[in-house]
């Protein structure tokens, strides 16, 4: 490993952890996990509501989803961080802003996947459930969702991967995640940007690639389980 990487490796991987300030790849992972859990829960709830909710709830949610999907993540983080304190005097730390913004935006994407998944199951399955005497919610819970989740799984994996990579946008509010600390190192060393960013790419590849493989395994297990 070249010198300029070796001497900065610990900083790139976990930042100033010894001083109680996790950073680098570790902070990216922590933020991803937090935002991923919140986004998945919100997305599942939102997607279900998009199918099962009343017309008013549905149209409110739809508008919200369309708007959230239309704003670049970088801008959302930027506005949450800088505008809230000006307009409302609320001062949220950078890490929390990033987690919240990523959770909300990914929930918007996921809720559409969930909606698509539920709708893809089709009329016959719903009819079967309802004619068995199940209520709409019971049909959803026991018949439709289990099948829909199988269809949705790749979308969820895709979205989680996107989320992990989007943590790199936290630079705009000065959060010391992986790409941010790499930029710091890059600018001190000055003349090795390609090598440093290739290393960054490798870091994300290991994390996201690992997640993708895990997803494939779940998918296969579910397919056999369902067959």
């Amino acid at each position: 490993m070249p010198d300029f990487l070796a001497s900065n490796l610990d900083y790139l991987l976990w930042g100033n952890l010894a001083h109680g300030a996790p950073g680098g790849l570790l902070l990216s992972l922590l933020m991803s996990v937090a935002a991923g859990i919140v986004a998945s829960a919100l997305g599942l709830a939102g997607g279900t509501a998009l199918v099962m909710g009343g017309p008013r709830l549905r149209s409110v949610l739809k508008t919200l989803v369309v708007l959230l999907r239309a704003i670049p993540v970088l801008m959302l983080i930027f506005w949450c961080y800088f505008l809230l304190p000006i307009l409302f005097g609320i001062d949220i730390p950078g890490v929390l802003t990033v987690i919240a913004a990523l959770a909300i935006i990914n929930a918007a994407y996921l809720s559409q996947s969930v909606q698509s998944g539920i709708e893809a199951i089709g009329r016959g399955q719903w009819g079967a459930g309802l004619s068995l005497g199940l209520t709409r919610w019971q049909t959803l819970r026991h018949i439709v969702l289990p099948q829909a989740l199988r269809i949705m799984l790749p979308s969820f994996i895709n979205q989680w991967i996107t989320l992990i990579k989007d943590t790199s946008l936290a630079y705009v509010v000065g959060v010391a995640e992986f790409t941010f600390v790499a930029t710091q190192v890059n600018n001190r060393e000055q003349v090795y940007p390609l090598q440093i960013f290739a290393f960054v790419g490798l870091g994300y590849l290991l994390v996201c690639g690992g997640l993708e493989l895990l997803g494939r395994r779940w998918e296969r297990r579910w397919r056999y389980g369902a067959a």
Binding site: W79, R123, P193, C208
Partner: protein, 246 residues
Amino acid sequence: MTPPAWLGQNWLAPHYLIWLLKGALLAAWLALLVCIAATLLGTLLTALQASHQRAIRIPTDTFLSLHRNTPLMVQLLLWYFGVSGLLPDDAKQWLNTPHVLALPAGLSLAWPSFEFLAAFTALTLYSASFIAGELRAGLRGVSDNQRAAAQALGLTPWQTFRWIVLPQALVIVRRPLVGQYTAVIKNTSLTMTIGVAELSYSSRQVETETLLAFQAFAVATVLYLALVLLLQISGRKPVPAWRPAP
């Protein structure tokens, strides 16, 4: 009318708005080209991925995994700097000087800048990998029973695909696909890293000159919003979604 004090002393002067509009146009043009190219490539990748030959499937999977699991920014840098580092000096020089082809009637056709070419290449490969993922998910969403039923009726595999699987898969995949096109529009903003003068780039230029950061970024946000909404409205499907009767 003067803006509230925290916004600074001025609104943006008209010529800065024109910079931003030009940036938005370039972003839209780049996104359009990428969407077309990435859909074609994504379809091809999906077909290759479904191949029964390992010699085709494994390289395809590796390609997809590499592109989906690394940040777009890194890919942009590698295409722009990495590739230009490998090219012979003459080719590099040619790519990095402007070339304009004069057409009759005062029109001209400019060969795109090297920044634009690198951005187009990187964005297309990246987006195609995600589009392939959505297409594959769409095909999977069609239950195996449907295929079996179609073949029991005597349809050939191609007929089954064309008349049974594809129509259903397209229904599933339409929305995620619009989602991917949305992502393309937003991802064009990363190309400012390698010097493409798109919308984010021009918003930074305006900020540098005027220090009116909030105004510049607000106009940029609104323009991105407009581009995406334009896409989403044109991507509306004609048939209303089916949902269970209440």
